[in-house]
């Protein structure tokens, strides 16, 4: 018991938290995915709109309203004592883009959830992560009743860079969500190694 305790303390001092973003259009299943894989009930955290946000925030018709609260969902997966994965559902509306910059700081990678019935909703997220060279996978949430497309079709339709993984998933299903995260972490590892080699060569 004593040795177990000291081991725990050792892990505590080097606690490591990794961040994964879940992005995509409104209603595509971001909260559902976070909830399916998280070990805690999905928590919502609120961020007050900053001044930057206020200046671009169109509150036409509601002139007196000077603050808006943005809600972000997040969840946690504990890999072991001292190593946790945090998932953040990014706010869907375009006017909260400024929050993405903070969220994506130091992120391990991102999951872009897509719905094939309105694929264009995930274009902004794809552009965002490509532009900032943040590793991401596209996870196609297979809604019942939606026509199924192959991963290849989606990849071509989104004009993804070669190698960007496309995974078909069911955001409600824990195992399916886990698979998406595994693909992302594997891909992030490959991207990282490739960049290291690039910088050496």
């Amino acid at each position: 018991m004593a040795s177990e305790h000291s081991e725990g303390d050792g892990a505590e001092t080097s606690a490591l938290a990794l961040k994964i973003l879940v992005a995509g259009g409104f209603g595509v299943g971001k909260t559902t995915l976070v909830g399916a894989v998280s070990e805690i009930r999905p928590l919502r955290t609120e961020e007050q709109l900053s001044e930057v946000g206020e200046s671009i925030d169109d509150v036409g018709g509601v002139a007196q309203k000077t603050t808006t609260t943005v809600a972000m969902d997040f969840g946690r997966i504990t890999i072991r004592s001292g190593l946790s994965l945090y998932l953040f559902g990014t706010p869907g509306q375009d006017r909260f883009w400024f929050l993405w910059d903070e969220l994506s700081q130091g992120a391990l990678g991102a999951v872009v959830l897509a719905d094939t019935r309105r694929l264009e909703d995930c274009f902004p997220a794809v552009d965002y992560f490509e532009h900032r060279r943040i590793p991401f996978v596209v996870a196609v949430n297979c809604f019942a009743g939606a026509r199924t497309y192959g991963a290849q079709d989606v990849s071509r339709a989104l004009d993804l860079d070669r190698g960007t993984p496309v995974v078909l998933c069911d955001a409600r299903d824990r195992d399916s969500g886990k698979e998406v995260l595994i693909r992302l972490v594997e891909y992030a590892g490959r991207m990282h190694t490739a960049r290291l080699l690039d910088s050496v060569g």
């Binding site: 505590e12 606690a15 490591l16 938290a17 990794l18 961040k19 894989v37 805690i40 928590l43 919502r44 955290t45 609120e46 961020e47 007050q48 900053s50 609260t69 972000m72 997040f74 946690r76 997966i77 890999i79 072991r80 190593l83 946790s84 994965l85 945090y86 953040f88 903070e102 969220l103 700081q105 130091g106 391990l108 824990r174 886990k178 995260l181 595994i182 972490v185 594997e186 992030a188 590892g189 990282h192 190694t193």
Partner: protein, 137 residues
């Protein structure tokens, strides 16, 4: 729905505000109007991990601490928590929590573990561990 009461005596416990009025205390009132953490100027990442400093001085009678400070201390006492979790559990905006944590950090009550720097992804061994851990869930 709010109604103007005429001559009716107010009911005991009746409140003039309701849930629609929003929080009765403006969030940044809890920070004395400050919107960024004190002199140390640290910007707490959402996943920065906060734990109680075991060597911390006793804060029992410290009047510099408000009820929200104490609420955060109590949450950290349960387990090490991320800034995001603290905000959600304490039901406070992240910006407010950052200011309050700045105070606690300066008082030496808490320790904060910064997340991995942006350009520096964790090494392969840790990613392997994450993948194996996810598989085992």
């Amino acid at each position: 729905m709010r109604k103007l009461r005429g001559d009716d005596p107010p009911e005991p416990g009746a409140q003039w505000y309701d849930a629609e009025a929003g929080p009765l205390v403006r969030p940044y009132a809890m920070t004395g109007g400050r919107t960024s953490p004190g002199p140390s100027g640290v910007r707490f990442d959402l996943i920065a991990l906060v734990s109680l400093d075991t060597a911390a001085p006793e804060t029992g009678d410290d009047t510099a601490l408000g009820p929200e400070h104490r609420a955060l201390i109590e949450l950290c006492r349960i387990e090490t928590q991320s800034v995001a979790e603290l905000a959600a559990d304490a039901d406070l905006p992240v910006g407010v929590v950052r200011v309050l944590l700045g105070d606690l950090l300066e008082l030496g009550v808490v320790k904060v573990t910064r997340p991995v720097p942006p350009a520096q992804l964790p090494d392969e061994k840790i990613l392997r561990e994450v993948i194996d851990g996810l598989r085992a869930l």
